[in-house]
């Protein structure tokens, strides 16, 4: 099923003001409803290598697999949509690739990457994330974070060790508790959300949400929702105007219309022949 008529995608990635390298990596395939964002870490250019491997492995593999199996099909064993299994498997594959490269080549030692990836299908979106790259949703007036960081700060917040006020001043913003490529296996967190036309989904690296408050991100998306590309550029610009201390990447996906999967077997056959 081709989603290019149902989704509008805009993205922007920038090294920021302070850093010389852009270790973020983004990929999008509108037709297959696939967006991937990774924020790499590791000395020299290893961060770029890790995030580049993550987006490349996951996008290229998923592009094939989404053609083979409809992502909305329910996997009998788990009762979950096939998309989640595909995401999980390909994230595991990317993890292995990065981990092995880091093990075998000294210059890549210790490299890793955070990840947020989304697959749109059947009026739904499955979002997988690892680390502190985030997904948000603007629905009507409401701007809301869909992912929960795998970070020390978030754990401190959850366990009540610090308050949200203290969190703003924490020195620990940069410690993630999960990343791709650091250990032989990694467990992504995957959630499925219902999608409505006119929703806007934002995937971003921490370079955005560390520099621009959620309130201002939401306001910008609302103000500029008519021009997605401008909204993406504006968000990056705001991060840079506020100091631009990290690489900043955003992917925006606007749902233009309903994209329910064909329901009956005849409709499926028809869409398959198309």
């Amino acid at each position: 099923m081709n989603l290019s008529q149902a989704l509008e995608i805009a993205s922007c990635s920038d090294p920021g003001i302070v850093r010389a390298h852009n270790e973020d990596s983004i990929a999008a395939d509108g037709a297959r409803g696939l967006v991937v964002l990774a924020d790499g870490m590791g000395g020299y250019n290893a961060g770029e290598v890790a995030s580049g491997m993550a987006t490349t492995v996951i996008t290229t593999e998923l592009q094939h697999l989404l053609e083979e199996t409809p992502p909305y099909r329910i996997e009998p064993a788990s009762g979950r949509p096939w998309a989640e299994r595909l995401l999980r498997e390909q994230i595991a594959k990317a993890n292995t690739s990065i981990f092995q490269a880091a093990q075998s080549q000294p210059q890549y030692s210790g490299m890793g990457t955070t990840l947020v990836a989304a697959v749109f299908y059947d009026n739904k979106v499955s979002i997988a994330h690892i680390g502190d790259s985030r997904a948000y949703r603007l629905r009507g007036e409401q701007f809301e974070q869909l992912t929960r960081d795998h970070s020390l700060l978030q754990e401190q917040l959850d366990s009540g060790m610090i308050t949200p006020e203290q969190a703003k001043f924490s020195q620990n913003k940069n410690l993630v508790t999960r990343a791709l490529g650091i250990d032989p296996t990694v467990e992504p967190e995957i959630h499925c959300h219902e999608v409505k036309p006119e929703d806007i989904y934002l995937l971003c690296s921490d370079g955005l949400n560390d520099m621009v408050s959620d309130e201002d991100i939401g306001m910008t998306l609302q103000t500029l929702r008519a021009n997605l590309r401008l909204a993406a550029q504006q968000l990056v610009q705001m991060a840079n105007d506020n100091g631009g201390r990290d690489n900043v990447s955003v992917i925006l996906v606007r749902v233009l219309k309903d994209y329910a999967a064909p329901a009956g077997w005849l409709a499926r056959l028809f869409s398959w022949l198309k």
Partner: protein, 275 residues
């Protein structure tokens, strides 16, 4: 300089301990890093996990408990001048705030804490449920850290930001998201738009927000952005682009100067600085 603990009893300072290790154990038994030979102190009483500049105190299920600033705690994020009490003994936590400025290389580089290194909160909650109990309410989270390996902070990572990067001595530094709704932008000067033609001629609008949209949604919309360098106008939607001083703009952002004349959807307006 690492943070340190000052051990005292009845106001008498017994010794100072620098928190150089990732795990500093406190207890009565001799294998502890800080041994306190007193029967009110459990064999393995508590542990302090130190990650970079932050230290976390955790009670290891001791018989008589651990107090911080007079409150019993299970787990606690130590802050400068916190007083930890184990029986009659007091440990004052002193972290030299200025030491943070001395490590610009480590600042803000993302690092990975290995899974299992820190006590995990129970079940992941959805992002929206942010009901966060306050710190003093000791949380009965499972004390997974007790038997788990020391937190291994992996190698540093993102290449050092240029050493000249603005360094955060006081924690109120730039790492806090600045609110664009009250920007220090445009050199502190506030500008406004005055409508010159049409039904609302004479109306004035102050440009105090980071973004102000002009025009009619669905017909023609432009946005004025307030930035540190000044104000800019950008086309947002519609077939026609805004006209600035008689010239049709392109899709790029254009800087606005005092007394520029804008035309949007047939309405003329003037941009000017208020002060």
């Amino acid at each position: 300089m690492p943070a340190k603990l000052i051990l005292s009893m009845d106001g008498l300072v017994l010794k100072e301990i620098a928190l150089t290790k990732e795990r500093t154990t406190i207890g009565r038994k001799p294998h502890n890093d800080i041994q306190i030979d007193n029967l009110a102190v459990s064999g393995e009483h508590a542990v302090i996990v130190t990650i970079l500049n932050d230290s976390f105190l955790e009670d290891l299920g001791s018989t008589n408990g651990t107090l911080v600033n007079g409150q019993p705690i299970k787990k606690h994020f130590l802050q400068n001048n916190d007083v930890v009490e184990l029986g009659k003994y007091k440990l004052k936590y002193v972290s030299d705030q200025t030491s943070k400025a001395a490590a610009p290389q480590d600042f803000e580089k993302t690092m990975v804490l290995r899974p299992g290194a820190m006590p995990k909160p129970e079940a992941p909650k959805p992002a929206t449920s942010q009901a966060v109990p306050t710190m003093s309410a000791s949380q009965p989270t499972p004390t997974a850290a007790a038997g788990s390996p020391a937190p291994a902070v992996s190698q540093p990572v993102r290449p050092a930001a240029s050493p000249a990067a603005p360094q955060a001595a006081p924690p109120t530094s730039a790492s806090q998201p600045m609110s664009a709704s009250q920007p220090l932008a445009a050199g502190g000067r506030v500008a406004a738009i005055q409508i010159l033609s049409g039904a609302s001629a004479g109306k004035e609008m102050e440009l105090t927000k980071a973004l102000t949209t002009l025009g009619k949604p669905g017909v023609q919309v432009a946005v004025i952005t307030k930035r540190p360098q000044g104000y800019f106008i950008t086309h947002v939607e519609g077939a026609n682009f805004p006209i600035l001083n008689g010239k049709v703009l392109d899709a790029q952002a254009h800087p606005l100067n005092d007394h520029d004349i804008l035309e949007l959807a047939g309405v003329k307006m003037e941009f000017f600085y208020k002060t």
